[in-house]
Structures are given as structure tokens and as C-alpha cells.
């Protein structure tokens, strides 16, 4: 396959970036998207050019490192698939593919396609946990959890923190990410004592970090590689509404 790539190149956080064009003649269908970039990078190195920087690690769709907007869609055209698991057979010979980094003020570009997503860690720090110290846990069977709640909590817990939701959101909002955590913990009995304070604390942090506000467009859920449902956001809203009306607070 012959592929033309237009890739966002930016030397560092302060530099001005631009799209650069690369032509590849020997792309194979069975290559993953990242392997195609590996091949390009080896060529660039041998030609004394700076290889394209991109985040990646597990390459099996679970670590959440890889993050590219491919032809305007975070993680590219295949549903429920991270960039690392996208294969070149989904493109045609002669295609031109645009590759850009996540775009959000809260995810500043570090270099090329690499962005700083530590804002997500900060949102978790604001309350994305159950406050239980090691050793203080009761026996695991002390609290049964009905299977439906456990399964729904699991569905929300599959979030890999990649940030595609933010990248796709026309508002640059991280609501799907935040709500996935709020839903995961809010559905389990272990998460109840902190349910409302968790929701408002995490939301407040998200607002403070310059993520946009949610307007329920739904782009996030469309591109989420783990299929986190949009209704998670409703659950977050529900908990925030409760906390707002009752004035729940953690201090």
C-alpha cells in the first residue's frame, strides 16, 4: 500500500507546529498504525531526521498511552479500538491520512503527537478513590454487591484514561472520564460514603483545570475505545445535583 501521511510536527511545547507530509510506499495491511509509524521513524533516523514522537506502551489497547487524532477522529475510524490496535487494512492504497495530537488546553503538546495528560491524574487525586488504608479492609464477603451493579460498575471501570473523550469533545470537556470514575465507585457499596463529595470534588478540579463544560453532545462516547456509555455523565450530574442541593461537603 502507498500512504501519504500528514503529521503534526512540533519540536517542543513552546515551538509553533505544522503539518508535515511523508510518503510511504511499503505499508502492509497487517501492520498496526503504530508499526507503520515505527517503519517511518526508522527511515527518518537513517535520513538524519528527527523521528516522530508519540506515546505508546502496551500496544494491546489497555494502558491508554497511545493518543492520536486520525483524520479528525480520536483513535481513528474503527469503533472501540485504540490507535495501537488499529490496523492499516482499514485504509486504502493511495490514502492521505492526517495525524494530530489531542487538542486541549489541559493537555498541552509536549512534542509532535505527545501531550501532557497529567490533568487526569489530578482529577483522580481530587476524589477518584475509596478512602481505605491498607490493612483496614473488612472480609471481602462481608458486603455482597448485586451482580447488575457490579457489572455496571465494571463497565465504567474499563476506562483506560486515554483522553480521547476530551480530544473529541467540541467543548474540550473531560466529563466522560470523570463520570466513568464516579459511576464505577458510585455503583458499589464501598463507594457510597464519599459518593456526593467525590462527584463535586472531581468536577470542581476538572473545571479548575480548564477543561470545558459538558453540553451532552455525545462525541466522547462515540470515540471512547472502551465504550463507556454517555449515561455515566448523567449519573455524575445526578450526584452533583444531590450534593449541590444538600450542600454536601467533605471538610
Amino acid at each position: 500500500m502507498r500512504i501519504t501521511l500528514r503529521v503534526w510536527r512540533q519540536k517542543n511545547a513552546d515551538a509553533k507546529g505544522k503539518m508535515e507530509k511523508y510518503k510511504l510506499d511499503d505499508v502492509e495491511e497487517d501492520m498496526s498504525f503504530l508499526e507503520m509509524l515505527d517503519v517511518l521513524n526508522e527511515k527518518l533516523v537513517l535520513a538524519d531526521e528527527d523521528p516522530i514522537s508519540f506515546d505508546h506502551d502496551c500496544r494491546e489497547g489497555i494502558c491508554g498511552s497511545c493518543a492520536m487524532v486520525i483524520n479528525g477522529t480520536p483513535h481513528g475510524p474503527q469503533k472501540n479500538t485504540t490507535t495501537c490496535q488499529l490496523h492499516m487494512r482499514h485504509f486504502k492504497d493511495g490514502d492521505t491520512i492526517d495525524v494530530e495530537p489531542w487538542r486541549a488546553r489541559a493537555f498541552p503538546v509536549i512534542k509532535d503527537l505527545v501531550t501532557d495528560r497529567s490533568a487526569f491524574d489530578q482529577i483522580i487525586q481530587a476524589g477518584g478513590y475509596v478512602s481505605v488504608n491498607t490493612g483496614s479492609a473488612p472480609e471481602a464477603h462481608a458486603t455482597p454487591v448485586d451482580k447488575v451493579s457490579a457489572d455496571d460498575a465494571f463497565d465504567a471501570a474499563t476506562c483506560i484514561g486515554c483522553g480521547a473523550c476530551v480530544a473529541a469533545c467540541p467543548n474540550g470537556s473531560s466529563m466522560l472520564f470523570t463520570s466513568a470514575k464516579v459511576t464505577h465507585l458510585g455503583l458499589l457499596p464501598q463507594g457510597q460514603p464519599e459518593r456526593q463529595t467525590r462527584a463535586i470534588s472531581m468536577l470542581a478540579k476538572q473545571d479548575e483545570l480548564d477543561f470545558g463544560g459538558c453540553t451532552n453532545v455525545g462525541a466522547c462516547a462515540e470515540v471512547c475505545p472502551k465504550g463507556i456509555p454517555l449515561a455515566s455523565i448523567s449519573r455524575l450530574n445526578h450526584d452533583v445535583l444531590g450534593a449541590t442541593l444538600t450542600g454536601a461537603r467533605a471538610d
Partner: protein, 229 residues
């Protein structure tokens, strides 16, 4: 968990992005109820000039023994004006926040989310402009060819101008989109959505949007084709 939670319910609400959406959802519900009542009232046009003008007059005498002539109407107007201000200020605030959240845009634009969802803001602006025209035209009569013609007369005179009728219909399509997404979005914002209900709620909202648009647009169409004279 470190938390600097504002104690006052107003600042607590207005202080968060979701709080602003609560405001938009609640004010949106107020509009929607008003719009539905307005539409039902409008449909009285098909019962003739007298019924329609009497209905218009009735709105002004409603509760007059307590609130005075047009009192209730003014209360409704004040509530609506307050709602529109809150709705728009919240919307602009979120719009600004969204602009701020993505200082550098994409070279290759994506198209995720439904058309209705992506056009809420401009759709809202069009509707606001329409409402201004609409008040000048049919309430104050300022831009109406027959300002003294009574409710029925003003309406027929206005829609006798095809451009105005078409503008009205276009605005109703925009309103329909706005409701189709807005109603569902409001339910989602108020915490009423779930993965199981989502499809039904979306269909319901689209249904309401279509019914409202048809209910309003049927009148200019009727004037244009001569059904209402």
C-alpha cells in the same frame, strides 16, 4: 478529600460547569412548557377570528381580579425574560469555557455528535433573533403591516408576506432541533438518563421537537395556502 465547597446554594450552583447546566436545563424546561402552551393556544386560529382574539384577550384578563389586567401575562413575561437571560448567560459562559479549553483547533475537523447537538449554540442564537422579530411583529406590532388588526389580523397580515412565513418556518425547524437535543440533554443534565433509557429518551425528545415545530409551522403554511384568511 480536600474541598473548598461554597456554602451558598446560588454560588454553589453557578460556580460549577454542571451547575450552569442545571440552570440551563431548568430554564429550558420553563421555555418548553411555555412553548407547548403557546402552540396549543396558536392552534385556536383554526377555530376562527373570534375564538382566537377572545383567547388573546383571555390571556390578559386571566387572574385580573388579583394581578390586574395583563398581570399574569406580565408575570409570565418576567419569568420568561429571567429564564432567557439565565439560559443565555449560562450558555455563553460555557461557550467561552469551551473556547478556552481548546486554544488550538484541529486541521482535520471531525464530525462526532449529532447535528442537533453540534448546532445548539448557533441554533439558540437564531431562535433568539427570531423571538425578537416575533415580538416586534406580533406582540408590539412594530414591524407588522396591520398593527391594529388584533391578534388574528396581525398574524394573517404577517404571514401574507411569504418571506416572513418562510423565515418563521425555518425558525421552527431550528426550534425543533433545539428541543430535540435540548430536552434529552436537560434530562441527562438533571440525572435522569441511563444506558437503558437513553434510546427511548432521545426518541421522545425528537418526537416533542417535531410535534412543536409542526404545531407552529402549520399556521404560516395554512396562511400561505389560503386555509386561514
Amino acid at each position: 478529600m480536600v474541598l473548598t465547597q461554597q456554602r451558598n446554594i446560588v454560588t454553589r450552583t453557578w460556580g460549577s460547569s454542571v451547575g450552569k447546566k442545571f440552570v440551563m436545563a431548568v430554564t429550558g424546561v420553563i421555555f418548553l412548557l411555555y412553548v407547548i402552551a403557546h402552540m396549543i393556544g396558536n392552534l385556536k386560529i383554526f377555530f376562527g377570528r373570534e375564538t382566537f382574539d377572545a383567547y388573546s384577550e383571555h390571556l390578559r384578563t386571566l387572574g385580573a381580579d388579583i394581578f390586574g389586567y395583563s398581570g399574569v401575562l406580565w408575570i409570565i413575561r418576567v419569568v420568561l425574560i429571567a429564564a432567557v437571560v439565565l439560559h443565555m448567560v449560562a450558555a455563553f459562559s460555557l461557550w467561552y469555557k469551551a473556547k478556552r479549553a481548546r486554544p488550538v483547533g484541529y486541521q482535520h475537523k471531525g464530525h462526532q455528535g449529532s447535528y442537533a447537538a453540534r448546532t445548539m449554540r448557533w441554533g439558540g442564537v437564531i431562535i433568539a433573533l427570531f423571538v425578537i422579530w416575533h415580538i416586534l411583529d406580533l406582540t408590539t406590532g412594530t414591524v407588522n403591516p396591520d398593527p391594529a388588526g388584533g391578534a388574528y389580523g396581525k398574524l394573517v397580515a404577517s404571514f401574507d408576506r411569504p418571506v416572513v412565513a418562510i423565515f418563521y418556518i425555518v425558525a421552527m425547524v431550528a426550534l425543533s432541533f433545539h428541543i430535540s437535543h435540548g430536552l434529552w440533554s436537560g434530562i441527562q443534565t438533571l440525572g435522569g438518563n441511563s444506558a437503558v433509557k437513553q434510546h427511548a429518551l432521545k426518541s421522545f425528545s425528537i418526537g416533542v421537537g417535531v410535534v412543536v415545530a409542526v404545531g407552529f409551522a402549520i399556521i404560516p403554511v395554512s396562511v400561505m395556502i389560503g386555509l386561514v384568511r
